[in-house]
């Protein structure tokens, strides 16, 4: 049995309205996670390319907040999911109106009724209005497990922040039908926000193509701007608009954090006990980024930490590993996939160290044709997305059960010496194995 009761001021309730409007642009349903000291709304869009989490601080945001989850102790939580529209019909606009006009409330009490001896589980919202009118809404909810997107800010070397009011002006220039937004850090001290749509057709249809709009902003107009020059980061323009419009309701600064194109980008802002974090999938022309010691390594999960791989980085990557989606991976397999990402560059940098392992695992590494593959592959996006689920890697494990044993050996090996397994076989050599 969970105890969850809280009270909102009219201002806070109207902020809940604003955040629901924003989350509604990402998903039809909003998930709720209540902990002892904070309350979080999350939304994940259908393509799972955008994740939003808006956290309300128990002490700061609410006039009263009490949450005692049924189990889990201090770390326990109560989670559920509801239709965004259902919540929005309760948290209407204009809940806060200093003039006390229609729709204004005095306060808002929320409680959750979840008891084993009752048949109804309800999310109950009481709007206490002027003249003693109390509107009570009982909403149904669905018990769900709430997942969070992880974002490692220590890795996001590129960051900028700007007042939402200024960005709000910029997004108004964007065409209505555009889909993508390219954020480009130019070399001339300007940052360009370019909204566009992927080419769809040619001929007569060209004229129906939506407007391409580029807004060039002096980087000095940013409150902070630390972005690798020449980098393109591409996100969905609708997501960006939704975020900026919401940030503008709080009159606060919008901060962006990102590492490389194809790696997640996070927008963050907040004020007065309300913290918003949006983690978005990005695309981008990373070939346009200036060359680094191992440009190919940009793709690699390991190497995305820093271009030059060090032992420390390796450990870092290991600590990150439990966050990966699939079941426990043998370290060796992970190494395998790491190698798949950047065979050429690694070979050059650590050829000497690689030599022993090549001998050692000679017969074990089957799909070693990645050199050729990489030469032909145009861009590595997909493989980046499916890191850890690599079909060839699982094939490895299935076909060679003994491999995990030797894996422990190579794990220490890699951790210490910072080397990677090298290609050992050609396709022509392994045909007999199938």
């Amino acid at each position: 049995m969970v105890i969850l009761n809280f009270t909102l001021t009219p201002v806070a309730a109207s902020k809940v309205h604003d955040l629901l409007v924003c989350l509604g642009k990402f998903s039809d349903t909003v998930a709720i996670e209540a902990r002892r000291e904070k309350f979080t709304f999350t939304a994940l869009n259908s393509s799972k390319s955008a994740y939003a989490a808006i956290t309300l601080d128990g002490n700061q945001f609410f006039t009263h907040y009490e949450c005692v989850p049924s189990h889990g102790g201090p770390d326990g939580r109560f989670t559920c999911s509801m239709y965004t529209k259902a919540l929005l019909s309760v948290f209407k606009g204009r809940l806060y109106d200093p003039l006390g006009r229609d729709g204004a409330i005095d306060r808002c009490d929320v409680s959750v009724q979840e008891r084993e001896n009752e048949t109804q589980c309800r999310f109950i919202v009481k709007m206490v209005c002027n003249q003693g009118v109390i509107k009570t809404y009982k909403l149904t909810y669905e018990a769900v497990d709430v997942m969070h997107a992880l974002f490692d800010r220590s890795v996001a070397k590129n960051r900028w922040s700007m007042h939402s009011g200024a960005i709000r002006e910029y997004i108004e220039y964007f065409g209505t039908k555009t889909e993508m937004l390219d954020i480009f850090a130019g070399e001339d001290g300007r940052c360009v926000f370019k909204s566009y749509t992927e080419k769809i057709s040619n001929g007569k249809e060209i004229l129906k193509h939506p407007l391409v709009t580029a807004v060039a902003v002096n980087t000095s107009d940013f409150e902070e701007f630390v972005v690798q020059t020449g980098m393109h980061i591409i996100i969905n323009v609708k997501d960006f608009k939704a975020i900026v419009v919401h940030a503008d309701t709080l009159k606060t600064s919008l901060k962006a954090f990102h590492s490389q194109p194809t790696r997640p980008l996070q927008f963050s802002y907040g004020s007065e006990g309300l913290i918003c974090e949006f983690t978005l999938m990005t695309a981008g022309d990373y070939s346009a980024a200036p060359p680094t010691p191992a440009p190919q390594a940009m793709n690699s999960r390991q190497a995305s930490r820093t271009p030059s791989t060090t032992t420390a980085d390796r450990k870092d990557s290991r600590s990150f590993r439990p966050n990966m989606p699939p079941p426990v991976q043998p370290a060796s397999r992970r190494d395998g996939s790491g190698r798949l990402r950047n065979p050429g560059s690694r070979q050059a940098s650590s050829a000497g160290q690689a030599q022993p392992s090549r001998k050692e695992s000679d017969s074990l590494f089957v799909p070693e044709d990645e050199d050729e593959d990489d030469a032909w592959a145009p861009v590595d996006h997909d493989r980046e997305e499916t890191l850890g689920w690599d079909a060839s890697a699982s094939h490895d494990a299935a076909a060679f059960p003994t491999f995990t044993d030797s894996g422990s050996g190579s794990r220490t090996n890699t951790a210490d010496s910072n080397e990677v397994f090298e290609p050992t076989q050609r396709v022509s050599q392994i045909k007999g194995l199938w």
Binding site: Y173, L207, A216, N218, E223, G270, S271
Partner: protein
């Protein structure tokens, strides 16, 4: 092929494109260093032929091409209008023809300047985490330095370059001399009344099942005489409504512009029409009548936003031609939009 111009009158340009866009999505734009022509030829409905002097919209212009320094483009008006709209508060705006991925585009570049402190007018908004202090300091410095945020916005409007041959066969419709010419009352007045008529007619149609009747029912009858009267009426089974304006102006014909000079005017149909009808509009005689689609007329009336003088020329039961003269400073009627509205046959 080169086209480059700086826009001096963004508001006029925006209103022009908006008005034209209500009649059709695409415009044939003919650019030269003497004048700019916009032509809309929809599949059906009203044609617009607009000729604008350069200084009506552009401050400077440069047009170079192999075909007598004339460039013909097909331009999507919605995109152009949207781009221009965002330039309304710009400090400067330039437009040029260029290429992107081998596709021709019109690039509209606008520069806007915003005082850097406009959004931080309420420093109280800067509450929250300590990191906000940095942000505040930064904007504070800007204020001290008198720094303004300068933003450069570039809109890329896809266009099609038309070969001279493609447009060679396009000609302005030829029409016989009009029976009546009259200066229209303020278009906002005219529009709201005719829109109301159309709406009434459509509301009446809803009850009737015949879909084919729709077009005939929204048929407006527009008539004028040479005694300053304009009449708009609509008729259906259930109703008959009309509005009459009186004391409008019938401009004198300029002998220099009529074939045959003074003699031509004497023989002109409008001279004959002057003999008929009365100034109170009660006479049945002396009316030149056209029958047009109310919805199409509503689109034409959209030109009212440009605020020009409008002279309507009525060719009885044949066509209605509107000449919209753009207001300008030096009093010349150099920029004119011509609307060709053909009458339904009775």
């Amino acid at each position: 092929m080169r086209f480059k111009a700086s826009i001096q009158n963004i508001s006029t340009f925006t209103k022009l494109t908006a008005s034209l866009n209500s009649l059709g999505p695409l415009a044939w734009v003919k650019l030269s260093e003497e004048q700019v022509c916009f032509t809309i030829i929809p599949e059906q409905g009203t044609q617009v032929w607009a000729v604008l002097s350069i200084d009506a919209i552009f401050a400077t212009i440069s047009v170079q091409s192999a075909a007598n320094n004339v460039i013909n483009l097909e331009v999507p008006l919605t995109s152009l209008n949207r781009a221009l709209k965002s330039a309304l508060n710009a400090t400067s705006a330039h437009i040029r023809l260029t290429k992107n991925d081998k596709l021709p585009i019109l690039a509209l570049t606008i520069v806007t300047t915003t005082a850097s402190n406009t959004y931080s007018a309420f420093p109280a908004a800067h509450t929250g985490p300590a990191s906000h202090e940095d942000g505040f300091d930064a904007s504070f410095d800007n204020d001290i330095g008198g720094g303004n945020r300068e933003t450069i916005v570039t809109h890329e409007i896809p266009v099609r370059v038309l070969a001279p041959d493609t447009v060679a066969h396009l000609h302005e419709p030829a029409c016989r001399e009009p029976d009546v010419h009259i200066l229209l009352p303020p278009l906002m007045q005219l529009k709201s009344i005719s829109d109301r008529f159309t709406k009434l007619a459509l509301a009446d149609t809803k009850s009737s099942t015949a879909a084919t009747a729709t077009t005939s029912r929204t048929r407006l009858e527009v008539a004028a005489n040479m005694h300053g009267c304009l009449k708009i009426s609509i008729r259906s089974d259930a109703m008959s409504i009309s509005s009459i304006w009186t004391d409008l102006n019938n401009p004198e014909l300029d002998p220099g512009h009529v074939a045959g000079g003074e003699h031509g005017i004497a023989e002109h149909p409008s001279t004959r029409m002057k003999q008929l009808g009365t100034a109170d509009g009660r006479s049945d005689q002396g009316w030149a009548v056209v029958s047009i689609d109310g919805r199409d007329w509503g689109k034409v009336m959209s030109v009212g936003r440009l605020g020009g003088r409008v002279i309507a020329c009525f060719c009885h039961e044949h066509a209605l031609i509107l000449y919209v003269y753009l207001p300008n400073d030096n009093g010349d009627d150099e920029s004119v939009l011509t609307y060709f509205i053909s009458s339904y046959s009775a």
